[in-house]
């Protein structure tokens, strides 16, 4: 249009088209809908999802294209060179508005009891488009409600707008054809494929992509309204893949985890098991320091720990155990303290579960930070649980300072351990922590700013969604307190996770120069618009 012709020809793998009078250059193969998005033009859409194949079945994204007699679905229309697209002309605006009205003809509009309300694309488009009263006075078509589709999902067929996104998630993400459409016209209905249930390791992704509240996750159903929640970006700690997630939290607890787009790690998806990891954040937490099985104060606990460490150190029998379940910062801090103590350093992890591995996201290694601990330990990375077991049975260890609560050791070794002085820095009161001489409470992954390293060695930041329970502090802070009590000579003076990060990224070669990044505050979802 009025834009001057570009002086240099664009690279051959891009096309330039005009949308609403503005020229835009996009890579070849981009669809018109995505091209418009780069200009900030949000074309309404239901069935299009950037992570799925294109069905073009909802016709909510119709636009006018010059020299084309009919309106085109912009999700399916590949951008062509010199194409002139209009999204605001009366014809296509009316078409989209009428498509929306059509979708709403049989919609039950039970927003008050619909879990999607507040983040529903249909609600959003209704307000965007016309916000007008219904013109339909014939009875609505009734379909099944509260249908149990599988172990995790409930379907409300009336709310379904037949976009087929969920079918495509099953087909393309989970590789299992478990959902299908039956019947035609306004009797068309989503149902499970013959002899199938919606039961696959990625099934809850269907709930995320569902633009309406037709699919709801049993785990989250009726617990919280979307607009009440705050969202904090984080990384799933369910396995070594490290899917990027959002923690949706309120009242100092997490209510659900949803995937966050990261093309390099998890795309748009995450597995069901990972979603449930937030339950652990509330179960069996250690909220106050414990000395010999009794709740105590930080001062007393640190004093006792310092005595025991000094005693063991004198005999050269001090062992420090890092954990692949904990973040980089606490592992690095404790490793540094171990060097000052001249202690033997080991690391442990939860045992692998080969049966859960697939070629998609799920990994057999159920520890979020195996790569991180190995990078921090460098040469000592071979000192795993087996080495610890050998050292324990050989009786070379007098006291153990342990991060986390996972010690996959044999009964014999655990018996040995019980006779030693165990100082645990743990978020949960579990396993060996119950017998610890001193247990120091630390924050779990959702409660502190930190980082983990996934199976590809990718360093990923996590953020604090809510404060840790009781007297628990961030893991690295507990290490600092322990260091100041037990060996002031080590001079641990970090005051912020950022300080640990700075030292750590300077010391650990693969992470050199990695930026800590911006501090992230929780986002109120009521200002975040629709999701799905």
């Amino acid at each position: 249009m009025s834009d001057p012709a570009p002086t240099t020809p664009p690279p051959p793998d891009t096309v330039t088209l005009t949308i609403d009078g503005t020229a835009v250059t996009v890579p070849k193969g981009t669809n018109v809908l995505e091209a418009a998005k780069t200009l900030g033009i949000d074309i309404s859409a239901f069935c299009y999802h950037p992570g799925l194949s294109i069905a073009a079945c909802c016709r909510q994204c119709l636009v006018s294209i010059e020299k084309n007699p009919k309106l085109q679905p912009s999700c399916q229309q590949t951008a062509g060179d010199g194409m002139v697209v209009r999204t605001t002309d009366p014809q296509s605006t009316l078409a989209r508005k009428q498509m929306l009205e059509f979708t709403l003809v049989n919609h039950p509009i039970d927003c008050p009891i619909c879990d999607k309300a507040g983040e529903c694309t249909l609600q959003k488009l209704y307000f965007d488009h016309d916000n007008a009263d219904s013109r339909v006075d014939v009875p609505k078509v009734e379909k099944p409600k509260v249908v149990d589709l599988g172990p995790h999902i409930v379907l409300d067929a009336e709310r379904c707008i037949l976009c087929t996104r969920c079918i495509r998630v099953c087909d393309e993400v989970a590789d299992s054809h478990q959902l299908e459409m039956i019947n035609r016209g306004d009797h068309q209905e989503l149902t499970t494929a013959p002899g199938q249930r919606l039961d696959n390791p990625y099934s809850i992704n269907t709930v995320d992509v569902c633009p309406v509240g037709a699919l709801t996750a049993k785990d989250f159903r009726f617990t919280m309204r979307a607009w009440e929640l705050d969202s904090t970006p984080s990384v799933c700690h369910g396995c070594a893949t490290g899917c990027n997630v959002e923690i949706h939290h309120k009242n100092d607890r997490a209510w659900r985890l949803v995937p966050r787009l990261n093309a390099e790690v998890n795309g748009h998806w995450m597995c069901d098991e990972g979603r449930f990891t937030y339950h652990e954040l509330r179960e069996g937490r250690l909220a106050a320091p414990v000395v010999d099985g009794l709740p105590s104060s930080w001062d007393k606990a640190l004093g006792t720990a310092a005595e025991k460490i000094a005693a063991a150190q004198a005999g050269g029998g001090l062992a420090v155990v890092l954990s692949a379940q904990a973040g980089n910062e606490e592992n690095y801090a404790l490793a540094k303290l171990a060097t000052a103590w001249k202690a033997q350093v080991f690391w442990t992890a939860r045992p692998h579960r080969p049966e859960r591995a697939d070629d998609k996201l799920r990994d057999a290694d159920v520890n979020p930070n195996t790569a991180g601990v190995k990078a921090i330990l460098g040469g000592a990375a071979d000192n795993d649980a087996a080495a610890l077991e050998a050292a324990l049975t050989a009786g070379k260890v007098k006291a153990v300072v342990m991060l986390g609560y996972d010690l996959p050791l044999s009964e014999g070794a655990l018996r040995h351990l019980r006779e030693l002085d165990l100082i645990a820095l743990a978020s949960h009161e579990r396993g060996p922590v119950k017998h610890a001489a001193v247990a120091l409470p630390i924050a779990a992954w959702a409660e502190t700013a930190g980082s983990v390293t996934n199976r590809d060695g990718k360093l990923q930041r996590t953020h604090a969604a809510f404060p840790p329970p009781g007297q628990a502090v961030a893991g690295w802070e507990a290490v600092v307190r322990l260091g100041q009590a037990a060996s002031p000579a080590a001079k641990l003076t970090w005051a912020h996770g950022r300080d640990v990060w700075k030292d750590m990224t300077a010391a650990v070669a693969p992470w050199k120069g990695a930026p800590w990044g911006r501090e992230v505050r929780p986002l109120q979802l009521r200002f975040a618009g629709s999701r799905g």
């Binding site: 008050p112 009891i113 009875p139 409600k145 159903r221 617990t223 009440e228």
Partner: protein
Amino acid sequence: MAGHGHEEAHDETAGPKVLAVSKVSPKVRTIAVVRPSEHDVTYLEAARKGLGVTLRHFMKNFFGKRRPAEALAKGEAVEPRSRFKPAWNEIETIQYPEEKTHYPERFRGLHRLMQREDGNVRCVACMCCPTVCPANCITIIPAESDDKGVEKKPAVFEIDELRCVVCGLCVEACPCDAIRMDSGVHAKPVENRGDAIMTRELLLGLSADVGKDPQSTATQGGEGPDWRG
């Protein structure tokens, strides 16, 4: 007396009398302070006026006729002022709580929760009222309802009537006419703060108690009871 109003700022003559202006900063000035006259300072005039008003009220209340208690409760109009009947009986002392005055129809009393035909709670735990409540005093824990046609219900519904600012926004927000403030009941005095928290059962009971229709006649969608055909 003379303030710093607009007129004064424009019209220097109407402002306070300027005695001297500082040489360093012309904004710093010495002005003449206007003190009240001696007559005003004694407050005799004001006291006399005040006593007059009190005396007039005393006469009205002492010699005037009270409106009968029944008329009071019904909110019947005060008899119009006429030459032979001065409006003395407009002033009334009500022997509360034995006597109660008339409450306007839209008086907001304690909340009540409406019932369905089967006596179940009408609220579907949509969370609109706790969302809109400016005092944050409504606590709802939703749960799955046994009735599949209802789906959602409040397992816990509590209103802290001490924190409530009686704004009525919860009633406005409710999409199913499940909560009303038309019980006409005052918040009761309590000894412990916790006692002012009304539970689901209390709120439901209130709706049966007050002799008003415990069931809401509103229908979903507003199109009559069989809107879904």
